[in-house]
């Protein structure tokens, strides 16, 4: 319990150890701590940014989806309209074609009727001539009675 030079020795040791700590121990440790702190802060900030970006992307995806749906329904609507148009067109086409075929058939029928009438007519002339020959018992000169015959033909 005597106060002696130990005191001075301890003071010197104290200064030496403090100097050693100041020079070789404190700076690397506190630098490592600060660096890590910064790294962690950066990481957290990056994570937050990533989350924010993801939110934005989600929103954008929803928008794109919505737009796509709208477009699809529009396209479907247009397609339905077009289908209706095509059906209508086909209907009119068919109607026209039918009419045309009908007309052609009518014309053919008329032609046939006409031709049959002509044939009938010439046959009637022959029959009439034959009948007349039989009645008169003589041959009728076709050339002499040509005008008469023609008159008859015209009458039929």
């Amino acid at each position: 319990m005597n106060i002696n030079a130990t005191l001075i020795g301890q003071s010197i040791a104290f200064f030496l150890f403090v100097w050693f700590c100041l020079k070789f121990i404190w700076p690397p440790l506190i630098n490592a701590l600060n660096e890590r702190k910064k790294a962690i802060a950066d990481g957290l900030a990056a994570a937050e940014r990533g989350q924010h970006e993801q939110e934005l992307a989600q929103k954008r995806a929803a928008e794109v989806l919505h737009e796509a749906k709208q477009q699809a329904s529009e396209i479907i609507g247009r397609a339905e309209k077009r289908a209706n148009e095509i059906v209508e067109e086909a209907k009119t086409d068919a109607k026209q074609e039918g009419g045309r075929i009908l007309t052609a058939a009518q014309a053919e029928i008329d032609q046939e009727v006409h031709r049959a009438r002509e044939a009938l007519r010439s046959q009637v002339v022959g029959i009439a001539l034959a009948g007349a020959e039989k009645v008169l018992e003589r041959e009728i000169d076709a050339s002499t009675h040509d005008d008469l015959l023609n008159k008859l033909v015209a009458e039929i």
């Binding site: 319990m1 005597n2 106060i3 002696n4 030079a5 130990t6 005191l7 001075i8 020795g9 301890q10 003071s11 040791a13 104290f14 200064f15 150890f17 403090v18 050693f20 700590c21 100041l22 070789f24 121990i25 404190w26 690397p28 440790l29 506190i30 630098n31 490592a32 701590l33 660096e35 890590r36 910064k38 790294a39």
Partner: protein
Amino acid sequence: MASEELTSSGYIKHHLVNLTYGRDAEGNWGFAETAEQASEMGFWAIHVDSLLWSVVLAAIMFYFFRKAARRATAGVPGGLQNFVEMLVEFVDDSVKGSFRGKNELVAPMALTIFGWVFLMNLMDLVPVDWLPMLAAQTGAAIFSADPHHVFFKVVPTTDPNITFGMALAVFWLMIYYSIKVKGLGGFLGELAFQPFGKWMMPVNLILEGVSLISKPISLSLRLFGNMYAGETIFILIAIMYGAGLVLGSFAGLLQLGWAIFHILIITLQAFIFMTLTIVYMDMAHAKDH
């Protein structure tokens, strides 16, 4: 221990004397063999045990700290680095909390004080006879000294020289930074013109002088007193081991209990020494009183 009979008071006294190296009454250099001799050696003697343990402990501490510091990375820390970083961060927070000035020295000094005082206090938990016995045997075997006259105190902080040495070092730093920051005039002005203004200068000088001087004294005596008392109680408990089986086992229980309680004191005293140092340094740097 044949030369003297072993009494309780002799045992206690033996435990409270340092291994002192100095010049005896005849003027020869050597180790003191009795407590009286040790005190006769006067100021120019050295407590070899205190100084040895304090330096060895600091060296051990700084060996590990340096190891951690050398491998310190900002990446994932290993076990040792983690532990040292924890200490560093704790000290750094304490310094940031109480020290408002700008001085690179304060935080490393606080770390040194905390770790060092803690380790020196921790020696108190080593059973009181182990190391002194070892020292006595070593002294007898190597230096052919009488084992009973080999004194050995293993807890440096129970030596007022050690605590005073540190407190005075802090005190000089305090005065140095006071003068550096405020100038010699500012420092003396603080002593002379506060708290009552310049017409009450003598009173101010007495008040401020006492408060200035009391800082290192209270700083060192607080630590010394706590550790000395703790050490004494350990010695008293150790005496009980010689008092039969029942009292001996009771002493074992007591020692365990006191040691567990003492862990708190050890840490607390180290922390108080560090915090007060920081506060004193803050006062030295503060321009407004």
